[in-house]
Each structure stands twice: as C-alpha cells, then as structure tokens.
Symmetry: C2
Subunit: 303 residues, 2 copies
Amino acid sequence: MATPELKAELTRERRGVDRTLRRLLRSEKGIPDRLRQAMGHSLLGPGKRLRPLLLLWTFDAVTARRRTTPVDRDQAVEIAGALEMLHCYSLIHDDLPAMDDDVLRRGLPTCHVAFDEATAILAGDGLQALAFAICARRGGSKAAALVELVAAAVGPAGMVGGQQLDLDAEGTAVTAATVARIHRGKTARLLAASLTAGALLGGGRPEVLKRVHDAGMDLGLAFQGADDLLDITATTAQLGKSAGKDQESDKATWVKIEGLAKARARTRRYGRRGLATLDEALPPGAAAGRLVALAGMMWNRDR
Amino acid sequence: MATPELKAELTRERRGVDRTLRRLLRSEKGIPDRLRQAMGHSLLGPGKRLRPLLLLWTFDAVTARRRTTPVDRDQAVEIAGALEMLHCYSLIHDDLPAMDDDVLRRGLPTCHVAFDEATAILAGDGLQALAFAICARRGGSKAAALVELVAAAVGPAGMVGGQQLDLDAEGTAVTAATVARIHRGKTARLLAASLTAGALLGGGRPEVLKRVHDAGMDLGLAFQGADDLLDITATTAQLGKSAGKDQESDKATWVKIEGLAKARARTRRYGRRGLATLDEALPPGAAAGRLVALAGMMWNRDR
C-alpha cells in the first residue's frame, strides 16, 4: 500500500517526533527519578506515533500555501508530542489490572509490570498534565482553543467516557450503535482532535476545521474497526500486544456482533467516507496527498 | 479563631462554589451515566473548598481597586471549580488500593469503594481533563498562562511528583528536607497555584504573582504540617477520613522525624512566614484582610 517514498517520509517524521519526545521529557525539571523512568518507559518505546503524524501532516497540508501561520512547525512538533503523551497515558491506565489487565504493550512489559501499579497510575496522570502544559506553552495565539479542543477529546465525554462505556459493556449484549459510541469516544475523538489541531495551528478556517474533524471521526472508527479485526487475525508478535484479548474479555466489537465479513465492510465504509471528506477539506498538493495516504493506512493495516 | 462574620462569608462562598460545581458537572454533555455519578460522588460531597476559596479571595483582593479585570468573577468562580476538580481527582487516585488504599474520604466511602477501581481511575482522569477544558474555556486573555501555571502545579514535577516521592518514601528513613520536598509537591504547589491563579485572573502584576506564589508555598507546607499533626491528634469522625493512617503506613512526616513539639513549631514557622508574605503582597483592605484570615485558618486547624 505505502510507496517506498511514503515509508521513508513516515520513518523520518517518526524519528523527529521521537527526538522531540525525548527532549520534552528530559527538559522537564523536578520530576522524581522513578516517575520519569516510568513515563519514559511507556512514552519512548516503539510506537506508530499516529496522532503526532496526523497533526503534523494536516498542519503541513493546511499551511502549504500560507506565508504566516499561528505557530511555527517547531511548536507544532512539540504539540504533536503532547498528543502522543495523552495517547500514552490512556494506554498506561487502560493496561492496569483494574482495567484491561494487560502485561504487554508495543512489545514491552506494560508500565505497571515494569514498575508497579501506583507508579503506573501516577505516570499516566503526569503525562496528562504535562501534555496540557505543553499545549498551553507552545500553542501561541491558538493555545486556549487547542487546550479546549484536546481536553474535550480526551475528557469524560470523549476518550475517558469511551473507556468507561467499553468496560461497562464487557460481557453484556450490545448493539452495533453502542459499539460505535464506544469507539467514537475511546479512539476516534483523539484521532479527530489530532487532525483538527493540525488545521487549527496552521490557521485553517472554521469550516476546514469542521470537515477535518468529521473526516477524523470516520477515520478513527475505521482505525478501531481494523484494530478489532487484527485482534482476531494477527498474532501477539505481529501486534506487540496480547492478541485475542477482545474475545477473552468479551469486549464489545463489531466483529463480535456482526461477524468478520460485515465488520470488514463496515470498516471500509467508514474509511472511504473519511478519506473522501479529508480530500475535499484540504487544498490539493503534495502535502495533502501524503496525509490522505497516511489516512488510508490507518485502516488498511497489518498491525 | 474565625469570627462569626468570617464564618458566614466562608459558608456563603462555599455554597456558591458548590452550586457552580453541580452546574459544571451537569452541563457537560455526553458523559456516560456511571462515570458522571462517580465524578459527582467525589466532587459534590462535603469539602472545605479551600483551593476555590483561595483563588476567589485572592482575585477579590487583587481586583479591589480595579475597574477592569482580565476575567469577570463568574469566570473566576468556574475556574475555582476547576481547581477543586483537580484536587478531587488527586484524592480519588490517592485513595486507590494501589496507592494509599483508603475507604473513607470526607465522611463518605471513597470512589473505588462506592463504584469500582476502574471507574475511580477514569473518574479521576476525567476530572483532570475537564478541569483543563474549563480553564481554557473561561480564562479569557489569561487562559494559556492559567493552564500552564496549573498544569505545572499538578504535573510530574508538582502534585503527581510529590505523590510519587511520598510513596517511594514509605517505610524508609527520610530527612526533614525530603519531607519538605514531598509536601511542596503533593500539597503546596496546587495551593500556591490557587492563590497565583486568583492574582493572575485579577490582572495582578508579575511581582505580585511571584509574592503570592511564595506565600502559597509556605502556607501549603504549614497546611500539610497541620494535616499530619491532625492525623495523630484527631479522630476519624473529626477528620471525615481515616485517622492514624500516616503511622500505619509509615508515611514520611515531620512528626515522625522530629516529634510533635518540633513539628508543631515548624508548621507555625511556615504559616507565619506565609501570612507575612501574603499581607505584604496585597493592597490593604477588607478583601485582603479576609484572605489573610483564611490563610491563617489553613494551619490553625481543627480538621
């Protein structure tokens, strides 16, 4: 699916994000050693860096024809790192024994296994606060709007709410609409906010922000749909996290309700609609093309 | 210590904060029922509302002679509520079995006892995100500075870091300086940020913000010193939380290291210095007098 050129660009961009994450964590003064190690363990391990990439490539697509932008790209990279911190905090807390009770993440022991439960809870809490500090510090004239956008996406009506619905639904009979509500909160909101933040920081107009957000919600549903399919069809080694967990804990997924074929078709439907919306929202050009290619990879996945 | 007039003002102000908290939680759309109940259980129970009061009365003291202020008092009250949410989230997480493992808080079952551990973790996570959303939404021209101030105070080099140091210190031999570092992070930073946020939102100059912050750090240490003394000298019924917990889990406190008399003298020393700094920082008047009286009550405590 991805051309060699795109793969090379992805690798280069990911490395830049990784460097920024290391620098951001290292440069924060006064973090106790054990807490910093735990945050670093989960944040600096291997990862797709999907949310940072979506932010940055949307930023690039929106700013391709502009001379001045609300923030420069260095600021955008740090804010992209902040979104990765939020994603990482949610993984640390989701993996806790009281939640999904998982021991493997991104091919490494989960945070509470490598450290302990208390430290893992605090590492997650600390990453959330640090992410908002960075958004406020580096968001320039868009800082307040950025924090509001991102906080709503990860808050009790967004990511945290989705996780709650997911836990509440375990072992119960759910409808496809309930699964959609869970996936929108748990996954799509932060992915959509990543795209939207890129457009916001690039100076995109309100209607562009809205369309990009809509695209991100569809792409987020497609991404989660693909994730649920992979939980069935891929191995633990391929995933870097425990495979077959959804079935084991009787998670609410479309696969469970509709079967593999229908779930696959549904994922494709969301994915295609998201791609079309995204394509229309952006000024045509190389930067937009690269972003659309990345968005396609979100649901045509092998891991 | 407190005059009947001051007590009446405290009660009135607390009721206003409580009304705001109820409204803020109720008006957030899309929060799953169980999560909203868990957040409400911990947030809307009885509480001193110390951080909101400090913010609001500092705001009043700083704005007493101004015609225009960066935000109006209605906005300040909502931001005061956001600080209470942050405090409340920290209590929910601190009480978890993996942390301090407490079953009683403010005279009620702790969140994970009333609900379950996963819901309690998420309720805390959600309150943190919601607090930053409110700061960004209502902070007007000071929103970015406010989020940065508050996120630093509760982040890995602040409140979360203090909690980590506190857990790391349990059962180990510590110095009085280590206890001070723990208390600064765990308690004083958010209290100092509450005062500083009030001054910031009221349009206080940088030197006023700095002095108020210094005062808040000293008052915060005195507050925590008094808290540790009460853990020894008061009953569970008086405290509304389990008494004697510090000794039981061998917590790092000045009482443990220095004994009751020296710990009491130390608390008084911090408290007096904090009061003097605060008094000097503010324009004299009824509003400043009321704030200083409240600051005195922080360490001359009966609960």
